[in-house]
Symmetry: none
Subunit: 160 residues, 2 copies
DNA sequence: CATGAATGTGTATAAATATACATTTGCGGT
DNA sequence: ACCGCAAATGTATATTTATACACATTCATG
């Protein structure tokens, strides 16, 4: 019989190559490759490999091997006081918010906000010193303020 | 009763703050906060929010909100299929719509839209990867979606 | 060699999660 | 205002996934 290690390698390979939507599906493929195991063992293997089950538009769900890359490279946003000390104010009106920044900084700050993909904020448009934030229908100013404050601590003190 | 949007926000918040190891556990917390739902709805919510179930050394399993990183996965250099394959999504809020594009393409795509002088769309403002569409007072989301789909076939599949 | 600890696995089942179906709700169109 | 349709949700259940328990295997050690 093939070894456990071989099996783990095979599992990883299959999962990275194809969209697998259930353990049974994966089990079938492994069986075709000559591995003789049960769903129970497979469940343990997936746990061991830290394989996540994640919703997928196409297939409903799919299994995914853990991330290896860095998400938010710290160096980019750790400039002393940046970007908070470049933000002058933020104000709300309807489902919109207007953030005022120091000249030239609107785009970079908007990128930072965008990079977090905040659920409450549909999108941003930046000029030179002003950012327009379009908020999700039905969310309150405080919802948005709280969400933004999470990534820009202290922002709440700049609400007009 | 509290709105669905509020609930989704609450779910994200709880999940980011605490390690939740089952839907029932999360359901209890939501109930304490005054949300009255069943496990079925919660399962749907988690799928909608793309929350993954991932193995965790401490708790066995935990739920995790999606990476905000992989927003623009493939960057191609051919104009094949332009501009549709440069459009990531479109979402509505009030009389506004926010279209997300691949970096650098917002302006050119906005020009395309502008050039058609669509009745339902008063105007557009484009940043680097985001287009804001201001829609005519009184027209519905579907009106706008239909109009845009005429000049950008398939767009409707990208509505979030 | 005997022994026991650690690991691996299957079986059976518990637990967790997803979904088909029915019902309700809310909104856009006429 | 009314109608029709799509979205949202609960109920009940199917499907999927995790695990308790028992047994087997390996390996280090007295």
């Amino acid at each position: 019989m093939k070894s456990k290690t071989q099996r783990l390698i095979a599992i990883r390979q299959i999962i990275t190559e194809k969209k697998i939507s259930s353990q049974d599906e994966l089990l079938t493929l492994l069986t075709e490759q000559g591995f003789q195991i049960t769903q129970a063992t497979l469940s343990r293997d997936l746990k061991y490999l830290k394989v996540a089950k994640v919703p997928d538009n196409a297939t409903g769900y799919r299994y995914e091997v853990p991330e290896s890359g860095n998400k938010h490279p710290e160096v980019e946003y750790t400039m002393e006081g940046f970007p908070m000390n470049r933000i002058d104010s933020i104000e709300f009106s309807g489902q919109l918010a207007v953030m005022k920044t120091k000249p030239g900084f609107a785009n970079s700050i908007a990128s930072v906000i965008d990079s977090y993909g905040i659920f409450e904020v549909l999108g941003t448009i930046a000029g030179d010193d002003t950012i327009l934030l379009i908020n999700r229908d039905g969310v309150s100013k405080t919802d948005v303020a709280n969400a933004l404050d999470l990534i820009l601590p202290g922002l709440k003190t700049k609400i007009l």
